[in-house]
Each structure stands twice: as C-alpha cells, then as structure tokens.
C-alpha cells in the first residue's frame, strides 16, 4: 500500500536527487543539447517543494496534479510539458485516492509513460526519456506478475531504467535538440533518460520498506 504521505516522500526525494545531480544533468545536456536540463528540472522541483511547503495535498491525485502543473509552468524546456504530462497522467489515474496498491502504481506508471510517448512522439531507441521509462514499465509489470515483493519490483524497475539509460549512449538522437547533431549525438548519455532513471530510483529508495 502506498499512501499520500509515501508519495510526498517520493516527490521530496525526487527534488533532493535532482538537486544533487543538477550539475551532472547540465553536463550531459551540454554535450548534446542546450545545457539547461539540470537547471530546469531543479528549478521545477524546487518550485514543487515550495508549493508543498504552503499546502498539504489531500490525496494522491491532487498531489500529483500539483506536481504536474508546477513543472509545466516552471521547468521551461521540453522537459516541462513532458514531465508535466507524466505526472498529470499519473494524477488522472490515481485521482481521489488516499492509498493505492502495487498494481495501481504499475497502471499509473504505464499511463504516465504512454502520455509522455504521445506528447513527445518518441519511440524506443530515439535516445529520449522513453528509453529509460519503457523498460522500467515492462520490468515492473513482469516482476509483479512473477509475484515478487513490491519493493523488489520497484528495484527491478529502477535497474531496468538504469540499463535503458546506459544504452542511450551509443544511440543517435532522433528527437529534440540533440537530433540537430545527427551522428555526433552518439557517444553521449541522454540527459532526459538520466533524469527519468533518477525519479524511478528515488521511488525504489523511499519505498524500499513499503509492503
């Protein structure tokens, strides 16, 4: 069972992790993009934390919606609408709930990733966030249907995302600013896939004790 408090802890952790990796993300983005991904994401999540300092979300859907709307209007780059969609889809799926099951989480994550795919029109292998997110959804589904404990399933999802992220290194970008570089984008890890991995890793860490 995941409660509203669990989600709040997750988002807090996301903000910490993004802040800690701000410069790393900037560095990755400097190689193949416009060097703002880390700064943008950090600004977005800091704004989210400020929101939560002022108001306590009533339930999971409302919490995720606040995250989504805040990211949309503060991140700025393509990550704004993309992560905005990610959390908005999740919010829609979990609207009105104060606690959810592992299966609900898997369904919500799947909806979120589908939303991102539709918004950015990216396929697997385009060197985008999708390359971390899709394998994570698959791994999570697989682990849950194998009857693995929730915490272990989350860990599996994070590991799959990490692997997907590493596999973006040799790819040639076909979406976003990096695609302007063509072949020269190969050899660099995708910053979007990296931030996606960080968010899923944060979930695996803060929810490690959740049944």
């Amino acid at each position: 069972m995941l409660t509203t408090t669990d989600f709040l802890r997750w988002i807090e952790r996301c903000a910490e992790v993004i802040a800690a990796n701000r410069d790393y993300l900037v560095e990755l983005d400097a190689a193949i993009g416009d060097a703002d991904h880390g700064a943008n994401m950090d600004r977005g999540f800091q704004a989210v934390m400020q929101k939560f300092a002022q108001e306590n979300p009533a339930e999971i859907g409302a919490l995720l919606k606040t995250v989504a709307m805040t990211l949309i209007s503060t991140v700025g780059g393509a990550a704004g609408p993309l992560y905005g969609t990610f959390f908005l889809q999740m919010a829609t799926k979990l609207a009105g709930k104060a606690e959810i099951s592992a299966a609900d989480w898997a369904a919500a994550l799947e909806a979120a990733v589908q939303g991102v795919q539709q918004r950015g029109k990216a396929e697997a292998g385009d060197k985008t966030m999708i390359d971390a997110l899709l394998p994570a959804v698959t791994a999570l589904r697989q682990a849950l249907s194998d009857g693995v404990a929730f915490s272990a399933a989350l860990k599996a999802a994070a590991q799959a995302a990490e692997q997907g992220m590493r596999e973006t290194i040799p790819l040639v970008a076909r979406k976003g600013r990096a695609s302007y570089l063509g072949e020269r984008s190969a050899g660099h890890q995708d910053p979007g896939a990296t931030s996606s991995y960080l968010l899923l890793k944060a979930a695996a860490e803060v929810w490690a004790g959740v049944e």
């Binding site: 600004r43 209007s73 991140v75 704004g80 969609t85 976003g176």
Partner: protein, 860 residues
C-alpha cells in the same frame, strides 16, 4: 476577428515579433504572446499554462491561430490545448509555419478574412517569398501553378492567374512603383486592403521581373512579386467596380510617391499611440503595454487626477487691446510648441500618429473660436486668461453634446489646447492628490513634488500618460515603492473613476477592467510582491560590505520625510543626499529657518548615529518653485540651476545654511552643494557658511561649526577640476544623472534620447575614476549618488573603481547590499579596469552582467 498567439522560448523574440505583427495587422487585432518562463519571463522556456491563458485572452467564436518557435514550444502549445474546453479546442489551430514569417502573414491576413482556415493556409506558405527571393525552388509561385507540396495544403485564394485565362473584358493599368523600399509588407498590406474595398478581383504582376499576375488578396503573393523601387507593375481588375478599384490603387501608389511608406522600428508605446489603441479596447481584454517606471503590482479602482483651473492672481485686465495681443502671443507660442512636438514625435510614431499635434494646431487657429475670444475681450472686457477659458469651454461643451463619438473626443483636444494656452499665463492648475480610498491614480504627468505628496497607503499605483524612467518623478515613485507605468493615456479610454484597473510596473502591463479571475491573480501577485519586498527589507539590516570585508557604505537618497522613514526601514547607513527641494515647492514662500531645523533634526534623529548629508536647494529646469521668479530660459538645463540659483538668492540660501548649522548642534549633519562647476562658486558658498556661523555666534544661537562640506560633481568641469577641489572639500558626491546628460549632451526627460542617458557609459565611468583618484590622493571620500547606484550591474564596477559610499533610492538598498556581500573587492577592481577600456555601454554591460552572473548576484 481571429485571434493570434505567438509562442516563443524567448520573451524578447516574442515581443519583437509582436511589434512587427502590429505593423501589418489591423489596429483592433487581438494578438497575445506567451513566452519565456520564470516570474519575469526572462528565462528561456515555454509554459503551457501561460499559452492556454494567452489563447483565452484572444479567443472568440472565430477562432485562434497559434504560431510557435520550436522544440518545447510545440510540446507546450499542444499541452495547452488540453487545458481548454472541448468547444474552445475546436476553434484553435496550431500552425506549423515558421514563426516569424507565419506570424506576419497571418497578421496581415486578419484584415481581410475572418476565416481561420484561410489565415492558417496563408501562414503555411509564408516562407515562399523568401525562398523565391533566395533562389530556392520549387515554389508554387515560380511555376505559376501549384507545386506538389502545395496541393496537400488547405486551399488558399492566393492563386496565380494564368495569363491565358485573363478574359478580354478586364481593365488594367501599368504603374511604376515609387516607394523607396519597394512593395514590402506595409505597402503591400495597404494595397490589398485597398483592393478589398471594391467589388472587383484584382491581380498584380511585376513586368520587370516577368512574374505571373497574382491575386491581391494574399500578402505573400504580393511580396513574392519582389517588386522594388522603379519597377513596373501591371494591375489588372475585373468585376463591377473594376474601374474604381484601379483608380483607388493608382491614388494609393501616387500617395506613396509623395509619402513613402518605409519599414520602421515598431513605435514606442508613447501616449499618442496608446491613445488610439485604447479607443478600440474592449473591457476585459488582455493587458496593454506601457513603459515600466516603478516596479510592483497593483490592482484597484482607478482615480483620474482632477484638474481645476485657477486664474493666476496677476492676470487682472490691462486694456482690451493689450489683452487681445497677449492672447494672440500665447496662441502663437503654443502653435510653435505643437509644431516642435509634431516634428519630434513624427520620427517615433510616424506621420499619421504625430499628426494629432497638427490637428490641435488647427483648432488653435479655428476662426470661430478666435472670434469668440476676441469678442469676450473687446466687448465683455474679460482679460486674456478669462476669455480664452470661456471660449474654449463653450466650444468643448458643444463637442461634448455631439452624438458622434469622434466629435465627442474632439472635446479633449479642445481641453488640451485650453490647457496649453492658459499655462502661458502662469501657474493655473490645482490638483487633488489626497485620495479617500485606495486607488490607482491616472494622470497626464506628475511633478516630483506631486509624487512626494502621494500617500502610499491609498495610492496603490500610478499610470502616467507621459513619463520616462529617469525623470525625478520616476525616481521618487520607485523610492516610495509605488508601482507605476508610463506611456499610457487613459483620457480617451472611456474608463471612469471607480473602474478597475491592474498594473505591473516591472513589465509595463496595464489591464483595463480586468475580469474577476485576473483581479484575483493580480491581487495574489501584488501580495507576493509586497511580501518579497518586506523580506528583502528585513534582511537588509547588516552593515554593507564586500565578501572580503571591505566596507562600502550604502546610504539613501531622500526627498521627503516619508522617504526618510523608508530609508530607515530599508537598512540605509545614513542619508547620502537629502534633496531639500520638497521643502520649497508648492508654497507661496520659502520655508522658514525653524521649519527647516525641525525637518533636518527629525530625519537625523531617525537615522542616528548615521550621518545626514543635507544638499542645499537644487532647483532649475523641471523643479522651479513659483516664488523664485527666474527669467524664462531657452535651455533651463544649461541655465540658472543648482548652486547658481542659491548664489542669486542670498536670503534664501543663508536661511538654509543657518538651519543646517543649527541642526548640526546635536546631530552628524554634512553640507552638500549642488552642481558646483567652478572654484569661484565654492569660494562664494563657503563665504555664506562663514557668514551664517558668525551671525549665529553673534545671536548666541547654538550650532555646529565647522560641518563637513562637499560638492556635487555633476558637470565635466568639476571632474576636470577635481584635483583642485580635492584640496578644498571634505567629500565629493557624484551625481551621475546630470553628469551623464551634460557629458553626452542629451536631456534627461527627452524620451527620444533615453538611450544616451546611461551612466554606465565608459565616458562617465572614466570621469568617476578620475574624481576618485583625485579625491583619494588627498584622503577625501567619494559617494556616487545617481540612479546608477541602484543598478545591480553597476555595483561591482563602482566598488572596483574605489567608491567609498553609494547613495541610492531606499527601495534598492536591500538588493544592492545583498549583491555587495557577494562581490570580492579584488575581482571588482579587475572588472573596473576592464570596463574602463570599453568602447561603449553595450560592452560595459556585457562584462558587468557576466560578472554578476558568475557571483550569482542577479537575483537579489
């Protein structure tokens, strides 16, 4: 009318593009921008919520076309659609056209079509003229038929007319294009608007380039003709009004020959322009943009500053003949002023808009009006003032009763000329500045003294029809923390007292009659602004020093008791310049000695143990009290002002010096002399101080003597003489505002010259350095006090140059202290050495901004 929304990562890009679009769009066009991110929209990025709001602000049943740049702008625009209702979404179209070309094509099309599909189609092919020009093909126009890519697009009426299909019955004419820049966007827009007035189809071909004829319904098609000056155009018309259409087009082209239509920069949002735009503005529409004057956000009912006319006491009648001559002389003078204003604004606003001043000149010469005034003087024995007032009142009343709204507005022109002529007979205005309830004050202009009277508790904000960012009024408004926007004339807006209005003094936006949602949003923003201002004020109590511990005292410029109090709460370490003019203005007599002593002591009591530097009366130019009857001057800024006035009025000067010395009995008071340009002036002023001391001694009145005395360095003369002055004075205070205007020979209040009035100019920085090195060689201190001391980017430079103290408007103190704390003095010195080598302001700013960004000092 279809609405347009421009989406960009960059606020500057979107604003620039908006200016271009406004040149070709009909006046009432609804165009909104959604661009940039962060509170000030200055960071690069897009915000789906802002885009959705922009769409709503221009939305109507006729639909909205959204043009965007690239990347996240596209994703955010798509996302914005999700925040609209299903019904709205149906009528919003995202346009894949390149943003600049597409926006201009769509904007021009707004005048011709209410059809979203058609505008969309026109925007889609907007790249064609450029491609054609640069020799890129295939292009639909090049082949005189539709290309392949073309067919997949929605249909457009911009069809080329195949030559074989021109029927026998059409009319045509051949004209030579005389417009200097050829058939560019604005004349082409005029051409197709002219053609659209008639029941006829019109085509145009460029004979010199052998192009096919294109129908004059498409701006792109006309531009693609590539017609330049001197080329021959064939204009073909068909239909019931073919002949009339051709005649009108011929007239238009003749008019171009007489008055060429040039591409020009988007006009500044000055009063004249906004005036006209406002006439078209419906309530609840999106914000209009004025000139930012003082930051902050306010939303409240509007209160128009009421002006009543009071006959000057000296205007008793001479002989009727003399009165009539007096009136004629005044009218002639105003006529000249209007002509000057017309010439000056024509360059900025364009002939058409500046012409309002020519129209007013015609009113002045209106035979009926003049005859009436003459009768009133000769028959009814009124004096010139009374006669002109009455004749104008009668004329205005007649206009006010007209049914036609155009004629009713002419009453305001009459009011304008009434005012201009009456002003020639002396001080005649009385305006009430005390508001009973919270409101935003709207006025033509506010004098510095009027601003000083405002109560920030009730005056939530100010909207001025005129106003430049460095006028004294603007400085005062910033000092008082009253948000203000200039360049917006609401006189013709149809708004009345009590209508709601919102302003953002940072962006210059003004919302007329905002709806409840906007009011709530603005109230929220205003609350946050006040809070953050409060927070900064609180954090400002620490002493000002650089990161490595070098003290640079941060003092306040103060021009009223209210500002003195503000200085205290802002964390000022004293008053660097007490502008004493507020004591002298709007009253029949100069202030008495005891009155002055009381004010100086009050301020010193508040600020103790810090010092208060009292500057003696600094009038002239725009700040003249009525009882100083100085002769009118052609160039007040180069005339009697500053210390020169005081030396001519020994009684007034001596009284002030006595008051200063008396206040210095118990408080650390310094004496500052304004605009000293020569050593003789200094010697004479010093003699006054000795005399005051001797008098007070004789009278047995306690006082402080000697007090530290310094001069304002405001002229290049005192800069070059700084070595001599340094041996005499205790301190220097550099007034960068005047120093800049005198060095660059550019009047401060002239909006056409505002780019010259930048104290970061290397020519000014070198002078500051020269003064500092002369002063320090003799162990004397230097304060920099102009507006420049409030600029974040100026701070490290001034510190690096060795400035000992900065004196600025209290409002900016917290921010400047915070930045100072991040500056390392050695680094600042290197920066100062670098900027001294710069060739222009741009280079200086670039270096300074980079420096600030590196120390993370841009955000307070």
């Amino acid at each position: 009318m279809v609405g347009l929304v421009i989406v960009s990562h960059s606020r500057q890009l979107a604003e620039g593009l908006l200016g271009l679009a406004r040149q070709v769009a009909p006046r009432q066009a609804k165009i909104a921008i959604a661009a940039g991110i962060g509170e000030e929209h200055q960071e690069i990025g897009t915000d789906a919520l802002e885009i959705a709001a922009a769409i709503r602000s221009v939305y109507s049943e006729e639909g909205v076309l959204v043009l965007m740049d690239l990347g996240s702008a596209v994703l955010s625009a798509e996302m914005a659609l999700e925040f609209l209702s299903e019904a709205e979404r149906q009528r919003v179209r995202l346009c894949p056209a390149p943003v600049v070309e597409g926006t201009l094509a769509a904007a021009a099309q707004l005048a011709l079509s209410a059809d979203l599909d058609k505008i969309y189609a026109e925007a889609l092919i907007a790249l064609t003229p450029k491609q054609l020009h640069l020799g890129y093909s295939p292009s639909p126009y090049e082949r005189g038929a539709r290309g392949e890519g073309w067919q997949s697009q929605p249909s457009t009426s911009a069809q080329a007319l195949p030559s074989e299909s021109i029927p026998e019955d059409e009319l045509s004419l051949i004209v030579r294009l005389e417009n200097p820049h050829g058939l560019h966007a604005r004349p082409a827009t005029q051409l197709l608007q002219t053609a659209a007035r008639f029941d006829a189809q019109v085509w145009v071909a460029n004979l010199d380039r052998n192009t096919p004829a294109v129908e004059a319904v498409s701006l792109n098609a006309l531009l693609a003709l590539g017609a330049t000056q001197g080329q021959r155009l064939r204009v073909i018309a068909r239909g019931p009004q073919a002949a009339e259409a051709l005649a009108a087009i011929q007239d238009l082209m003749d008019a171009w020959q007489r008055h060429p239509v040039l591409e020009e920069a988007p006009p500044m949002p000055l009063a004249g322009e906004t005036k006209e735009r406002l006439e078209q503005t419906a309530p609840e529409e999106k914000a209009i943009r004025g000139v930012p004057i003082a930051e902050g956000i306010a939303v409240a009912p509007i209160h128009f500053l009421q002006t009543t006319w009071v006959e000057p006491p000296s205007s008793g009648a001479a002989s009727p003949r003399q009165e009539w001559q007096r009136l004629q002389a005044a009218i002639q003078k105003v006529e000249g002023d209007l002509q000057v204003r017309f010439e000056r604004l024509r360059g900025q606003l364009g002939e058409e808009k500046a012409a309002i001043f020519q129209a007013q000149a015609l009113f002045l010469r209106d035979p009926l009006l003049l005859e009436r005034a003459r009768q009133l003087i000769l028959k009814d024995n009124l004096n010139a003032w009374q006669a002109w007032k009455q004749a104008c009142d009668e004329a205005a009343q007649a206009f006010q009763q007209a049914d036609d709204s155009y004629l009713r507005q002419r009453a305001l022109d009459i009011l304008d000329i009434t005012r201009l002529v009456l002003a020639n007979f002396g001080e005649t205005k009385v305006e009430t500045l005390r508001l009973s309830e919270a409101a935003i004050l709207a006025a033509e202009e506010l004098t510095p003294n009027q601003v000083a009277e405002l109560d920030p508790q009730t005056v939530r904000g100010v909207i001025l029809a005129g106003g430049g960012a460095t006028s004294h009024s603007a400085i005062l408004l910033r000092g008082l923390g009253i948000p203000a926007v200039g360049g917006v004339d609401l006189a013709r807006s149809g708004l009345k007292d009590g209508d709601w209005i919102g302003i953002d003094g940072q962006s210059g936006e003004v919302w007329l009659c905002p709806g409840p949602a906007v009011i709530t949003e603005l109230e929220e923003k205003a609350r946050r602004w006040k809070e953050s201002r409060q927070r900064l004020l609180q954090s400002a109590r620490q002493p000002a020093q650089t990161r490595d511990g070098k003290r640079v005292e941060i003092l306040a410029n103060v021009g009223s008791l209210a500002e003195g109090k503000l200085a205290l709460t802002s964390g000022a370490e004293g008053i660097g310049v007490l502008r004493t003019e507020f004591l002298y203005q709007n009253r029949p007599h100069p202030p008495t000695e005891p009155e002055q002593v009381a004010v100086y002591c009050q301020l010193a009591e508040w600020l103790k143990p810090h010092a208060v530097v009292v500057r003696t009366l600094d009038v002239g130019g725009d700040k003249l009290p009525a009882y100083l009857s100085l002769p009118p001057e052609a160039n007040p800024y180069l005339g009697l002002r500053g210390i020169r006035v005081s030396l001519r009025y020994p009684d007034i000067f001596l009284t002030q010096i006595r008051a200063i010395l008396r206040a210095a009995t118990d408080y650390p008071i310094h004496l500052l002399l304004p605009m000293v340009a020569t050593l003789e002036e200094w010697e004479q002023a010093k003699a006054f101080v000795c005399k005051a001391h001797e008098q007070l001694d004789r009278e047995g009145i306690p006082h402080g003597y000697p007090v530290p005395m310094g001069i304002m360095v405001e002229t290049p003369a005192s800069v070059y003489l700084a070595e001599h002055f340094a041996k005499e004075v205790e301190f220097f205070s550099i007034g960068t505002n005047d120093l800049t205007q005198y060095t660059l020979a550019a009047e401060r209040g002239n909006p056409a010259l505002s780019e010259y009035n930048d104290a970061l100019h290397p020519a000014i920085l070198r002078q500051i350095q020269q003064v500092i090195s002369a002063a320090h060689a003799c162990g004397k201190r230097v304060t920099v006090c102009g507006e420049v001391a409030s600029l974040p980017e100026a701070l490290p430079i001034l510190v690096g140059l060795g400035t000992d103290e900065l004196s600025l408007n209290p409002n900016a103190i917290p921010q400047q202290k915070a930045i100072l704390a991040r500056v390392e003095s050695g680094e600042a010195q290197s920066l100062a050495q670098e900027v001294l080598k710069c060739r222009n302001v741009g280079e200086v700013r670039q270096l300074a901004q980079r420096f600030l960004a590196e120390i993370g000092g841009i955000e307070p």
